[in-house]
């Protein structure tokens, strides 16, 4: 995506939701906007309906855990298929109580992606039609993609990774 069109997208966003934008960056030429968590659904809806932006394709959605910040980020990757522009929106939620609104009202395809994010990170998507675990067993009590969840059985002593493992 060219720089001028990226600026145009940001200007359109600033115009309506200037207070919501926390940070704008373009790592590897991919427009990434960090937003305040409150109005994310409204902004996704705004992008969807806007006559010039047409972000009507949800490429992917997921979570990232930052234990140092005690936060869980949720990223939304949208795609404008008319002009082939992509944008990534990020919101940060507190680790203890990660709650946000669902975007299934805008994208039907967000349904399983949000369930997966709930399954792995415990992010609660309010208003989701069927928010339950999808890939793991329903009896599971942990959220396995959080950084504190150990990859291997901690009771094993036959594997010593202290020299090379992280």
């Amino acid at each position: 995506m060219e720089v001028s069109s990226q600026e145009k997208v940001i200007a359109t966003l600033q115009e309506k939701y200037g207070d919501e934008v926390l940070h704008v960056e373009t790592p590897y030429n991919f427009l990434t906007v960090t937003l305040k968590k409150e109005k994310i659904v409204e902004i996704v809806r705004y992008f969807y309906d806007h006559q010039d932006l047409h972000y009507q394709y949800l490429t992917t959605l997921g979570g990232i855990h930052y234990p140092d910040l005690k936060q869980i980020a949720v990223f939304y990757q949208l795609h404008n298929l008319y002009t082939n522009q992509r944008i990534r929106l990020k919101i940060y939620l507190p680790e203890e109580n990660p709650v946000t609104e669902t975007i299934t009202s805008v994208f039907a395809g967000a349904n399983w992606m949000e369930r997966e994010t709930y399954d792995f990170y415990g992010v609660i998507f309010e208003g989701h039609p069927n928010l339950k675990r999808i890939l793991n067993v329903e009896e599971m009590i942990m959220f396995p993609m959080r950084k504190e969840f150990p990859l291997e059985d901690q009771t094993r002593d036959d594997k010593n990774d202290s020299m090379f493992g992280r």
Partner: protein
């Protein structure tokens, strides 16, 4: 005793006392081609409601990837869409190369295109052959699987493995294609078109096949987009989105090919789109071979590309790199990058966040199967059970990619 139509009508229960049957389709069922379950609520033979359950072969690849050095993640990608694992492997290599900012030699890019298009052919070939089986035509299946075997022999010649290929390395290929590999590719290119043509004439204008597939398992293009469909399934719905054209990677812009699109959005269109894509893939391979430039078969990335063995024994630097790669001790720069390739089933994306360590901080796979399979209940609602089976096989749901 004779009965007219009215006698049956009188005995029908009213809507309130209507009883539905619950049918478990799966987890292991020969018609589901993989392990996933659908709890169907049936009204006679008509599906009223479907509840898919997935996760039976979930292997936590995203979690595993957070503990593995970059070159050890390639085998994980193999096991996602195992019908076209070279595309996954190369997609992953390209993601890392993008993060590192590596310049890839033109020859490597062309060789990658050849392998990826061969993989696309095997992927579509399995899907279309299976659509044939589910409509009761086993002949084409056996006939095409023989051809898939020949492609696997090509992989074997290049990287030593067949199904889970682990092909190539970060930076290129482990060795240049041998003469035997080229012979096999050329003989495949020579013989496959006739087989594909014969398979196509077996089914595409076959009255039984057309009656079974036309109008079955439809979805409108608006719904398909809303469900984030991609790949042949989206194109069969009538939208020409193809990552190879929209965001060209690995020199796809050098080749001339057509994106086939469907019109009626049914099983038949998905079959025909895949069929045409195989022809286009053949044409791309031929163009790539014709234009194949000379040059090295790997880029200069000593931190990631294993040095030749004789150098390891004689050269200090090579020994150090060898040790660092094998022990996974190479740090990569900090950054976040998204790279997508056109996989067998659609946009296969890798969202990689590196914190500067030797393993990814977070790696998210955008798995096309996982995303479009959620539309399945909507697509089969109100249709017959046999059409539901057909819809599933025409969507090409691969359990490995679904669950990751």
């Amino acid at each position: 005793m004779t009965m007219d139509e009215n006698d049956f009508l009188i005995d029908l229960p009213s809507a309130e006392e209507k009883q539905y049957t619950t049918l478990n389709l799966g987890p292991t069922h020969p018609a589901t081609h993989g392990i996933f379950q659908n709890v169907l609520t049936m009204d006679g033979e008509v599906i009223v409601h479907a509840e898919p359950t997935i996760g039976y072969i979930h292997r936590a690849f995203e979690k595993l990837a957070e503990r593995r050095p970059y070159n050890q993640i390639t085998p994980l990608t193999d096991r996602m869409n195992y019908c076209s694992s070279p595309i996954n492997n190369i997609g992953w290599h390209m993601t890392v190369e993008k993060l590192l900012g590596t310049e890839i030699p033109k020859r490597v890019q062309y060789l990658r295109v050849i392998i990826m298009e061969l993989a696309r052919i095997t992927d579509h070939l399995v899907c279309n052959a299976v659509i044939g089986v589910d409509t009761g035509a086993l002949t084409g299946f056996v006939y095409l699987f023989q051809q898939r075997e020949l492609v696997y022999e090509i992989y074997e010649e290049i990287c030593g493995a067949r199904l889970t290929t682990n092909i190539g390395r970060i930076g290129g290929f482990e060795r240049d294609f041998s003469q035997k590999a080229w012979d096999k590719i050329n003989s495949f290119l020579k013989n496959f078109p006739a087989v594909l043509k014969e398979f196509e004439s077996l089914l595409s204008r076959n009255r039984i096949f057309m009656d079974r597939t036309i109008g079955a398992g439809g979805i409108t293009v608006e719904r398909a987009l809303n469900y984030s469909f991609s790949g042949p399934n989206l194109r069969a719905a009538g939208l020409d989105y193809d990552v190879r054209v929209a965001n060209p990677y690995s020199s796809y812009e050098d080749f001339d090919f057509v994106i086939p699109v469907g019109k009626n959005v049914d099983v038949y269109d998905r079959f025909m789109v895949r069929q045409e894509e195989m022809w286009q893939s053949l044409s791309i391979i031929k163009q790539a071979i014709a234009k194949l430039p000379e040059g090295p078969f790997h880029a200069q990335v000593p931190e990631f590309y294993l040095p030749p063995k004789q150098d390891v024994y004689n050269d200090m630097e090579a020994l150090i790199y060898h040790f660092k790669i094998v022990m996974g001790e190479t740090d990569v720069p900090k950054g976040e990058v998204y790279h997508c390739v056109e996989g067998g089933n659609g946009e296969l994306g890798f969202y990689l966040i590196s914190d500067g360590g030797r393993t990814p901080y977070r790696l998210q796979f955008r798995r096309p199967c996982f995303i479009y399979y959620q539309a399945y209940p909507e697509m089969i609602k109100g249709s017959m059970l046999s059409d539901a089976i057909l819809t599933m096989s025409s969507m090409n749901v691969i359990a490995g990619e679904l669950d990751a």
